[in-house]
Amino acid sequence: MTASPLLIAGSIVALTVIASLWYAARHRSAAGLNLDEWAVGGRRFGNWIFWFVNAGEIYTTFALLGITGYAWAFGAPAYIAFTSVSLACTLGYWLMPRIWHAGRSGGLLTQADYFVQRYQARWLGAVVGIAGIIALIMYVQIQLTALSLVFRLALGSALPAAWASSLAALLMLLFVYLAGLRSAAFAAGIKDVLMLVLVVILGGTVAAKVGADSMLDVFQRVQQLHPNIGHFPGLDAAAGLDTTWFVTAALNVALGTWIFPHMFQLCFAARDADTIRRNAIWQPLYSLSYFFIILLGFAALLAGTQPEGGNLNAVLLQFVADRYSPWLVGLLAGTVCLLALVPGSLLLLTAGSIFTRNVVAPLREVGERQAVWIARTAMIVFAACAVLLTLTSNESLVAVGLAAYGAIGMLAPGVFFGFLWPRTRAVAIATGMAAGYTALWWAPARQLLSTALPGWDSGLAAMLVNALVVAVITLAAPRRPAS
């Protein structure tokens, strides 16, 4: 990349950061910045701002780089993008107002707070907090991978991967320290507009770039070239991405979306339950834009794009760098940076506040100043963990994303039973989690499960184990525990 795209990308990021900090400063309450304002936006988010934070946390680099790469490498399995938002919103219409209500009436700030309150057990809050942090780190890994890809595109692949992702983590931490939820919401708005503009420009011009007559012609040509691309299991039958995979993985994503601590916490930020419900009506429509994203993946395939090292996460960047003018490369690089920075910083912010509030605070007295210090130090450690994960893994962003959903899904029974089944107790939830994680991460158990439920997404299978254990223990336990 020459100087001009680098300049464009840099100015996009810098201007957005400055504008969002200015916006947050203007809205700061007279009482100064308190934890309520920093973490849940003072619980005053109305329709627009709620829409943008929500969209901001759903449409990350997972969407743009991950799904184009998936479409390029596998074809039909990328359709999972179309289901994720609409099913999550259907479930969310029912679930989110309940979370909001619990947060409002209990003065809750984090997801672990909910577990503490519902199950009357601080230890469960700590366990859930740590589990949530692990899943958040996996999600940060996605954003760091994307950011370091942009850096390596911009500064040349001579830049070692370790340096690129450390630089990315540093940038993310800087943004977290400066921003709270409100400035992140503003930056999310800008990045959403940029992403839509970018996707429409790229999608609108892509046909000419690959010698097709129209957008639809791109689909026709790619299907002539690869007759299996449009339906499951797609281009690579050996990858196991058939309809069973699709149904179970999509269901797991839908069930897990609001269980992610940052999404759970986002519900608390809404002004009222109606804001949440209205958002659920309109939010799915936004995901129609995945049409353009899949189109770009298919176009890259037609164009014969070969990313360095066959890295499917880099397909879109490589394709645009090969075929488009420098200013568009700059726009893409800047947008990807924001797509990674904004959600990534929110993830770190959430992880830091959970650690302070639900893991450390129950163990020892924490003063207000100390709390900030602990949260910031913890965020550095979490970012470092994410960097390490980035370096050791070479997987597709979608695969990493699904693994993160698998991990967070272990908290889902605790949330759903929490609202639906008053009899469930902390011990049952914790035992279920232990069983679920064993099924998910202990290789022999995982293998056994995949023979019992062939082709299933491992996250959903483990969630089923988890929920069954909770149900059995709850039914076996005496109705009224002796107090």
Partner: protein, 82 residues
């Protein structure tokens, strides 16, 4: 503000509509996968999933409207509080 959050605890008959997006996107997906028709040259499985998004928005919107209608079995809706 019209804060109709009182109903968070009760499920009503029309909430069954919310199963439809799951049926459309997931339960029917294996069947749809075998259809080789290509409307506008697009893979049918993809068109189906995109249509599912429109259907979902429509259904959530419908449920939202039905939720706002006063319940016949309860007299004045209790959102008269300040």
């Amino acid at each position: 503000m019209s804060e109709t959050s009182q109903d968070t605890r009760t499920l009503r008959a029309h909430h069954a509509l919310m199963l439809l997006p799951f049926i459309w996107h997931l339960a029917l997906a294996p069947m749809i996968n075998d259809v080789r028709w290509q409307p506008w040259g697009l893979p049918f499985a993809m068109v189906w999933q995109m249509a599912g998004i429109l259907v979902t928005s429509l259904i959530i919107g419908t449920v939202y409207r039905l939720d706002r209608e006063p319940r016949p079995d309860r007299q004045p809706p209790n959102d008269a509080q300040p």
